[in-house]
Symmetry: C2
Subunit: 341 residues, 2 copies
């Protein structure tokens, strides 16, 4: 009963309307000067039969799928969830479906998705990695085409790339800290080979340098995770590092960091100032409300899809460029002048 009886096809509609399938197909695809009266008959047949085209047949025939692929490290992470949400919304607006895949830090899956794209499974791919590439990914991307690298770099891929302005983010954080008198800053970043971490760190240093005088940055780099936030916090605490402020390079890192600070009775911003990065989570409800650099997450997703569709893939030499989206600082209550300890 509930199961699939033979679905109504183009042929059925054509028969019902007394025309050929060619005509119906053309009507459906808009490549037709409507002869008005037959058009009505066809429309009626479509209504009556509740006809809907079989997408598999259409795709096979047309050689494209009207769906785009999106590869992200982890969907449950609020940053990526927001990005996925933005891409889905933008794709839907354009009548594109979304095929979603999470890599969960397994390089093999990245390769597999790229391959399936190559076989025209999807019309294009938005690709987000979160670990260094040994060159395999870049090679695959270059021979595949139609992929936009988003958020984090794949070094030798010659395709459009879209990132947040990470250097600016680091710089804004650095300025804010420096303005409050901080000169010794602990930086908790992501994987050190990754562009996001490197650029944020560079921005931080540039700010500190520009403000003049001696300064010091203590670097802890690992993953953009709660676990690493905790781990880094324990390490610098146990090492007795004398930073007066901490720049946590993601919401997750900030969460892990704050858990530890709280557990050890270290007060923010009284004992140490903290500034975060991402600002996707409800940082304003933390104790204290966390000052952070906000990434333009939705804009990243929307722009990435636009790039995928706008790019002229036939001109390889114009493909390799990098576009940066601005970030901003959201000042709350976790940064204060260093305490006199």
């Amino acid at each position: 009963m509930t199961s699939t009886k033979r679905a109504t096809s183009l042929k059925d509609v054509a028969d019902a309307a007394g025309v050929s399938v060619t005509t119906v197909s053309r009507l459906l695809n808009g490549s037709l000067q409507l002869p008005s009266e037959t058009k009505l008959r066809i429309d009626k047949a479509i209504q009556d039969l509740k006809y809907e085209p079989n997408p598999h047949a259409r795709r096979l025939s047309r050689g494209r799928s009207e769906t785009i692929g999106l590869v992200v490290p982890d969907i449950a992470n609020p940053f990526f969830a927001t990005l996925v949400s933005a891409v889905e919304a933008a794709a839907d607006t354009r009548g594109l479906a979304l095929s979603l895949h999470a890599t969960l830090n397994r390089p093999g899956r990245e390769i597999a998705y790229l391959r399936s794209l190559a076989r025209n499974h999807v019309d294009g791919l938005l690709f987000i990695t979160n670990h260094p590439d040994d060159g395999e990914l870049a090679a695959l991307i270059n021979q595949t085409g139609k992929v936009i690298v988003v958020d984090e770099d794949v070094p030798n891929a010659r395709v459009p790339k879209l990132f947040s302005d990470n250097e600016l983010g680091g710089y804004l954080a650095g300025c804010h800290l420096a303005d409050h008198g901080h000169r010794r800053v602990i930086y908790i970043g992501g994987p050190q080979e990754m562009i996001s971490t490197r650029r944020r760190s560079m921005g931080l240093e540039r700010a500190l340098r520009e403000r003049g005088g001696p300064f010091q940055v203590f670097r802890y780099q690992g993953n953009y995770t709660v676990e690493f936030g905790r781990e880094a916090a324990c390490r610098f605490l146990d090492e007795g590092i004398q930073g007066t402020a901490i720049f946590a390079s993601s919401d997750e890192i900030a969460i892990g960091l704050i858990e530890v600070l709280r557990a050890r009775g270290i007060s923010v911003p009284h004992d140490v100032s903290v500034i975060g990065f991402d600002d996707v989570g409800p940082l304003h409800l933390f104790a204290p409300p966390l000052t952070a650099i906000r990434q333009p997450v939705r804009a990243l997703g929307e722009r990435a899809l636009a790039l995928l569709l706008e790019t002229n893939w036939a001109e390889p030499e114009s493909l390799a460029f990098e576009e940066l989206l601005p970030v901003e600082i959201v000042v709350r209550n976790s940064v204060a002048p260093p305490s006199k300890s």
Copy 2:
């Protein structure tokens, strides 16, 4: 260069291996007694040509797509993001692709996705709605089949349904509050026609009733959003409602609520106790850390997919059942005995 040259097909492989496409196809699909030596030749040809089957052709031919659809209200919402993540992981394990769609409260989109499923676009659908149905959805679901209703009910749909044990959640919250001496509780729920809100409210009342003595529940029902959390908070504050505890029926509602309490200088749990529901966000870092009922979000996603695959869709009479997944209470620091005011 980078663009798609004609992809290598089954025919190419067959030619290269000196066999028919039938044979290659069979090998690929496992329905073959391997003749060992030809098998090797074919495997080699596949390697050499880097052959990968065209999924569109396969789908058209087989009449199924090896992809399942997932319809959620809003991907950026951490609750749904986590659910999507769990479904994707489970689907990937089984070699299924995921087609993701957000409805964003637009009923028309729900209808459209259901229709496209009916046309065998996907092999099955996990469906999550977040607003009452006038019957149209249920009708469509019943004639479509192969859909699992998850998280929130579609009343007359005769398909498997999977929910959190919302009544239990309300009950656990109620017990915890009652144990601390609360008898006048403000309940901030979602849309009042929805099953989740009704059941949580029932559980809350059952707990209060079981503990004996007079009690009172003040109900505010709207959406599971930050905005509604704020709105409800302002309303009961302005109305001077004398509740000693608040049961906020989602993380989002709790966030809005806490924003308002904080803005008005009302201290939790000193002035009023708060207990939340969902526990997906970093509630442990809130000020104070929020006690909440935790939903088994990932389990919900995994089980939903399992149900979709396990169900024998050919037997309509066995289809209509409801399965509940248990919730638990996570006690933190936002509930205390009522203050003597």
